[in-house]
């Protein structure tokens, strides 16, 4: 019968939704591959952190309150208190102009 | 810590629930003031249409409360990493005096919404809408609960400081605490299990009794409804205690780790989800019995009420058995395979 071969709209939705979920699963799988790569050095990094007494990861080396909590000043025009949050918007959006000499 | 993503999600869920119940309350006030089934004017017709709205809104609020309950537990779990001394969700929830009440209010709201939906179903099945006024009064009691919930959650989150030292669950539930603070305290295992077993026995016996009665074409009486109405909430409370004190150490395989929330973590196989789902399902089905008994006294409501009862009694039993099986699995396996600890 001809009319039976035509899928219902909800079937289409199922197919599309399933396809999208499948894509997500693939992406999550890829993410886990990356995660595995990231965590491959993890043991080593922990050992280094312990050996050198690092207090932070070096994602913002110029921000002393991030890289090393240890050099904060309590009395400063901009708050650098160790338990204070960095002054968020300005501190992170404007980089200094580095002139190439 | 109002700026945390978890906090924002919780507050968002709370605000949206409040919006839903607020609109429903507006309807409720209108219905309570103007409901007149005899009238065929436009206002009455609109009020009848509004019954669709209020049930949709309360359903939405119920679902949202369930979601926000899960988020609340997740948030507490997450905050445990931010609060010194809090090693699991229990510690984070007891970090200030608003956490546990907020959780309790959430659970009570959940049960109230479930009760409301049962009453709503009975009401809508009868052309005379016998319970309409009653159920809209109930919406008006749901409103303060939701407000209270939002207030407590806000207070809890606002007063949560990442630096303060709080106790962790190991301290809270330990049998002897140096600080003297204990949430559940010194509960001897055997008497507790005895009480619990007796209560479960009573509930099962009651269910069989009601089932036989219904099979003989009789209706459930006030005494049974009273026992069920008392027994099931008690069962809920005792179950939480038993899960915390007796079941959870077996799951964690650590005698002093007693936390009702860590069960929900992936590292324990998400055993908490089927466990708590079956527990809540069983208790909701259980408290349906007194609710339907109460509703059945309204003219015309008896038929639907009894139809719901005929399903609620075996449903509660089935879920109870599922719950007990899941709860007993780990301790039994441990005692059979691994000996006593």
């Amino acid at each position: 019968m001809k009319w039976m071969s035509k899928p219902r709209p909800s079937t289409w939705l199922g197919i599309i939704g399933g396809g999208l979920m499948f894509c997500q699963l693939i992406l999550i799988g890829l993410a886990h591959v990356q995660l595995a790569a990231r965590t491959s050095g993890q043991e080593l990094m922990r050992a280094q952190v312990q050996r050198l007494g690092l207090s932070d990861i070096c994602i913002a080396t110029e921000a002393r309150y991030i890289r090393h909590l240890a050099v904060t000043d309590q009395v400063a025009p901009f708050m650098d208190h160790p338990l204070a949050l960095e002054y968020f918007p300005s501190g992170s959006l404007w980089a200094p102009v580095i002139s190439s000499r | 810590m109002l700026f945390e993503p978890f906090s924002l999600a919780l507050l968002g869920a709370g605000l949206i629930s409040l919006y839903l119940v607020l609109v429903a309350s507006f309807t409720a006030v209108q219905v309570i003031r103007y409901w007149d089934l005899e009238a065929d004017d436009n206002r009455q017709i609109e009020l009848e249409q509004r019954t669709w709205l209020s049930s949709a809104l309360v359903q939405g609020a119920l679902v949202l409360q369930m979601v926000s309950l899960v988020i609340m537990i997740g948030a507490a779990d997450h905050f445990a990493d931010l609060l010194s001394g809090a090693m699991c969700a229990t510690g984070a929830l007891t970090a200030n005096s608003f956490g546990v009440p907020a959780l309790m209010v959430k659970i009570v709201t959940l049960f109230c919404a479930a009760i409301w939906l049962t009453i709503n179903r009975i009401d809508l099945s009868v052309p005379t809408y016998p319970l309409t006024t009653a159920k809209h009064w109930l919406i008006l009691t749901l409103l303060p609960l939701i407000c209270l919930d939002l207030g407590l959650v806000t207070a809890y989150l606002a007063l949560l400081r990442p630096d303060i030292v709080v106790s962790c669950c190991g301290v809270i539930f330990a049998e002897s605490t140096p600080n003297g603070f204990s949430l559940i305290g010194l509960l001897p295992t055997l008497p507790l299990l005895g009480c619990y077993g007796a209560l479960v026995g009573v509930l099962i016996w009651l269910a069989i009794f009601m089932r036989l009665k219904m099979a003989n074409g009789k209706t459930i009486g006030g005494a049974e409804a009273f026992v069920a109405g008392l027994g099931w909430p008690l069962f809920y409370l005792l179950s939480v205690v038993v899960i915390t004190v007796i079941v959870s150490p077996y799951v964690y395989a650590m005698p002093h780790h007693r936390c009702p929330f860590d069960l929900l973590r992936g590292s324990y196989g998400w055993i908490g989800y089927p466990l708590y789902l079956s527990l809540h399902g069983a208790v909701i089905a259980g408290i349906t019995i007194p609710v339907t008994w109460w509703s059945a006294r309204y003219p015309g409501a008896a038929d639907t009420a009894q139809r719901i009862q005929r399903r609620a009694v075996p449903g509660a039993m089935a879920l109870l058995l599922v719950f007990l099986t899941i709860a007993a699995f780990k301790p039994l396996m441990y005692n059979i395979l691994g000996g006593q600890w």
Partner: protein, 225 residues
Amino acid sequence: MIIRLHEVHKFYNRDTPRQVHAVRGVSLAVQEGEAVCISGPSGSGKSTLLGIIGGFFVPTSGLAEVAGVKLARLPDRFLTSYRRDYIGFIPQRFPVIGAMSVLANVILPLLPLGVEQRESEERGRQLLTRLNITHKQNMPAAELSGGELQRLVIARALINDPPIILADEPTAHLDSALSTQFISIMSECRAEGKTVVIASHDPLVFQSSLIDRHLILEDGAMVAG
């Protein structure tokens, strides 16, 4: 007695300055399998009477009982269930959802009843075959001609096999050939034992052999029949 109305009154906007007394004390009894035509000038309360029988609204006072259901004071939710079970309604202008296919339009009443799609399409196709428009079943309803539209609407009214068919001015927008076709389809339905109530002031309808009884409403009150 499938339809029984006794001293039915209907007010619109009651107790307001815009109050309308649309139906004034109408009593009516229709046997199962009877075909009745209600006529009268426009504004005489035909549509209101039809609306009361069809469960679109309840009478302000009086007794209305159709197929054993007491319609007075029934809330909208239950009127709707009543309509699902007992009424096939043919409205005046043949409203359809133009973008949907003919078949999809015909099975619309079955969707919320939880009838499986295959079964409802089978029923729809049978009806379309009976009404001779099977060849148009997959065409968007908007592309149908007046006569085909009429048959679609009739098929839709019959899809749930209702014991009562109500038609509101069905021939008002049709030429005489199509009106005759309508009458012959209704005659078939009557022959199957369905009760037919038509509100129409078209002589072609009330003078036809289909109609067993011709009632005349004037200013909301029954004057003949």
